[in-house]
């Protein structure tokens, strides 16, 4: 019973997290990046690890 309840609880938590992550935090708003961090904010612009090596040119 207890195990069932905790599994059920975990599922609900995961479902809520999923809704938050996949679904979207939307709303009319003012948003600013002043570039004051001395690093490019991965929460806004993605992970720095996505920097690509220079591609070969013909």
């Amino acid at each position: 019973m207890c195990v069932y309840a905790s599994k059920r609880c975990a599922s609900i938590v995961l479902a809520l997290c999923s809704m938050l992550l996949c679904g979207v935090q939307a709303g009319a708003q003012v948003f600013v990046d002043n570039f004051n961090d001395n690093y490019i904010d991965p929460d806004i612009w993605g992970s720095p690890s996505t920097v690509r090596a220079p591609r070969l040119q013909k």
Partner: protein, 201 residues
């Protein structure tokens, strides 16, 4: 989404509380540059703006800077503060450019300023800022789907004049608009795992 460098030479970094694009004089490539591609999408009508400063900018150096909309990390359409060199078909010019429809050039001597893109329904308008007011460059059709934005600086071998060039963007602002945050791949995996667990119940 993310930070992208392409071609040989360009760099991008937050320095002195602004976003700096650097093109060393030996930069090269059919097209070379650096860009930030947003993790968020903009839905519906919106108004986005960015300030620019041309820190090291010999006249007619062949480098372009822009705020643009994009469905594709390798392409974008928007408003530019750009330098055209003598080796280009349009000749040497310092200009604002709207490049999302007919290619519209507005000559300028501005080394600091602001760029703005506004989407309203099926149209978008590109602006620059002069004497305390926004001057429209072009209104043309716009994609109506959710769309990412890019902050971008680039050049081409046929245009670049091999000067050291530096430009900076600051105060990127979504004045109005609906922001849709897109999860990073790792976060997305976790979310999908959560969905699967729920389905198994």
């Amino acid at each position: 989404m993310g930070v992208a460098l392409y071609g040989s030479g360009p760099q991008i970094a937050e320095v002195n509380q602004e976003l700096q694009f650097t093109m060393p004089s030996n930069s090269s490539g059919y097209e070379f540059g650096s860009r930030l591609l947003s993790r968020f999408l903009l839905r519906g009508d919106f108004d986005i703006r960015v300030d620019f400063r041309l820190l090291e900018w010999p006249y007619y150096n062949g480098v372009r800077t822009a705020i643009g909309l994009t469905h594709n990390p390798y392409d974008d359409y928007g408003v530019e503060r750009s330098s055209l060199s003598a080796s280009e078909p349009l000749g040497a010019q310092e200009v604002y450019v709207a490049d999302f429809g007919p290619f519209v050039l507005v000559p300028t001597q501005d080394f600091t300023g602001k760029l703005r893109l506004v989407r309203s329904g099926h149209t978008q308008t590109g602006y620059y800022y002069e004497a305390g007011r926004w001057i429209p460059i072009l209104t043309d059709s716009a994609p109506t789907s959710d769309i990412a934005i890019q902050l971008h600086a680039w050049s081409h071998d046929y245009a670049f004049q091999h000067h050291d060039v530096r430009a900076a963007f600051d105060n990127f602002t979504v004045m109005t608009g609906q922001i849709i945050w897109v999860p990073e791949p790792a976060t997305l995996s976790l979310a999908l795992l959560g969905c699967l667990v729920v389905r198994r119940r």
